[in-house]
């Protein structure tokens, strides 16, 4: 849609601007303040310069947490996106069964994050959980509270359980917008199922899939509650992701300086990646409108 040039539109945006400034910019400035200063309480600050940043950049703790975070986000994207597309391709069309599937599939998305953790805690425990008990009965040595590998597998299965539906719903919405004429033309050309998917369905889903990947990447990159409830970052440090490490440092140990420096760098990484996705998205929009 072509839009009118009108700078008075700023007045309409002003409430949002003020509100978000209050809840985002002000706190962020506090973080910046902590990042460059040292404090012993009573609001006395000593200039620290880039000291905290140097400390955090060279700390193994941060490197490990970042490595685990990237591995985690990578694995769940690799599983959830193809699985989500596969589910969407198999979903029934409109009508009762379509709505039925939609509602049931969306159910995990609406469960509070900590309850998701609780569900899997109860489900996975060896003594009371169906999953833990079942695996033990099959003779598999499974215990997510002691074994790092088991903890990882449980977290990944939990995330796939929780969020695959989101990718599936988005892909489904993309599929619904493809006109039937495309499929008819493909049938006349005797296209195989694979080439229908590759040349008709996939390009049409590109936009929504980009959003799906963006949302999943961002949310998994700041995942906090589910691992916090399920494993508490353990066993050891094996499931301590960036957010958990940060919250531990800031609200647990009150290491404000390092935590603030950590926050700022964390935020910059997110900012950079958001920017890449956003540019890709707006370019896609422009191409479609041409």
């Amino acid at each position: 849609m072509d839009k009118t040039q009108n700078n008075k539109a700023w007045f309409l945006v002003l409430p949002v601007l003020l509100l978000v400034a209050f809840s985002a910019v002000l706190p962020l400035m506090t973080v910046v303040n902590y990042a460059f200063n040292d404090t012993f309480g009573q609001n006395e600050f000593f200039w620290e310069g880039l000291g905290w940043f140097e400390e955090m950049v060279t700390s193994d703790r941060l490197h490990d947490a970042l490595g685990r975070q990237i591995l985690f986000s990578g694995i769940i994207l690799l599983i959830e996106v193809p699985l989500g597309i596969f589910i969407a391709l198999n979903m029934p069309g409109k009508g009762f069964w379509g709505s039925f599937c939609l509602v049931l599939m969306a159910l995990p998305l609406l469960i509070p994050f900590n309850v998701v953790g609780t569900i899997w805690q109860i489900f996975g425990r060896v003594d009371i959980g169906l999953l833990g008990h079942g695996l033990a009965a099959l003779g598999i040595d499974y215990n997510y509270t002691n074994d790092p590998i088991d903890a990882w597998v449980t977290l990944i299965v939990m995330d796939v359980w929780h969020w695959t539906s989101l990718v599936a719903l988005l892909a489904y919405a993309g599929l619904q917008s493809i006109p039937q004429a495309y499929y008819q033309a493909a049938r006349i050309d005797q296209a195989t199922r694979w080439s229908v998917f590759r040349y008709i369905e996939l390009p049409k889903m590109k936009g929504v899939l980009l959003i799906a990947v963006l949302l999943r990447f961002m949310d998994s990159f700041m995942i906090y509650t589910e691992p916090f409830v399920l494993t508490g970052g353990g066993p050891g440090n094996s499931t301590t992701f960036l957010s958990i490490d940060l919250a531990k440092m800031a609200t647990g140990q009150f290491d404000l300086g390092p935590a603030a420096a950590f926050s700022l760098m964390y935020f910059c990484v997110i900012l950079l990646i958001s920017w890449v996705f956003y540019t890709a998205m707006t370019n896609l929009d422009r191409e479609e409108n041409r």
Binding site: A9, W10, V16, T251
Partner: protein, 267 residues
């Protein structure tokens, strides 16, 4: 047209989604001694005691009340400020609009862990700590950008000619907006409200940091169920089931728009 294999795939998938939820419900209907002593696929001694505990103990049910209060406040605030902004983004080009839009997006993507501590200090210093409005405002951090995005997507679908016709007919802007435009995007407003509700409802970190007693949310209450006799699994499970109920109820009303909402109105 749909083949048999599709039905099987869907059935298996939905079954996998439902089994953990079933297990939670199963646990909530058992007594604690049964949970720890015997393993069974369904409750042997059926009991509603866990639910009774929650609904009669103020420290439990006030959690739900507090959560509902701040979630409602958050939805109202978010929508009120997001509606005009979304209209501006969907209709006008103005200086810095692209940058502003991107800046809003980054707030949706900002990890709450980064903001937890500054929020705590900011709200303590202005005397808002442990109040409902503090949590509602804090949740605006990610809900306002989300609401703007969703609403902008829906508003794009309304042709601009409608605005112009209304102005020619002598409507003032506020009157046009409330009387003509808002009914046109009613479904969009519903979806945005639903998403704000949902993300505020499921959030734990900020609500736990910003409240201790008076505005303590159900999510925070649930993280402290370790009693002297070990974990109170039955009550924990029952509390979990009760948190799913509101979501399950509202999802039915927006079932046809869920995907569009998740795609930020951009399908």
């Amino acid at each position: 047209m749909r083949s048999k294999s599709s039905t099987i795939v869907m059935a298996v998938y939905i079954l996998c989604l439902l089994i953990p939820i079933y297990w939670l419900i199963n646990m909530s209907l058992k007594t604690n001694s049964e949970i720890t002593s015997t393993f069974s696929l369904w409750p042997q001694t059926f009991t509603l005691q866990n639910y009774v505990t929650i609904l009669t103990d103020p420290s439990w049910y006030m959690g739900y009340v507090n959560s509902l209060i701040y979630v409602t406040m958050n939805v109202v605030i978010s929508l009120t400020v997001a509606l005009p902004a979304a209209y501006a983004f969907s209709r006008y080009n103005f200086m810095g609009d692209k940058h502003l839009f991107f800046w809003l997006l980054t707030n949706r993507m900002a990890p709450p862990a980064v903001f937890a501590l500054p929020f705590f200090q900011l709200y303590s210093s202005v005397g808002l700590f442990d109040t409902h409005i503090a949590i509602a405002l804090a949740h605006c951090l990610f809900n306002v950008p989300l609401a703007v995005w969703i609403l902008e997507g829906f508003m794009r679908g309304v042709p601009k000619e409608i605005d112009e016709t209304a102005y020619i007919d002598g409507y003032s802007f506020p009157k046009f907006f409330v009387k003509i435009f808002m009914p046109l995007i009613a479904s969009g407003i519903g979806v945005a409200a639903f998403f704000c509700f949902m993300f505020s409802w499921v959030e734990l970190l900020l609500s736990r940091t910003l409240a201790t007693v008076n505005a303590k949310s159900i999510a925070a209450t649930m993280t402290r169920t370790v009693s002297a006799s070990g974990m109170d699994w039955g009550v924990l499970a029952a509390a979990g089931v009760l948190t799913i109920v509101p979501g399950a109820l509202v999802i039915y009303f927006v079932r046809n728009y869920i995907a569009k909402g998740f795609a930020l109105g951009r399908v």
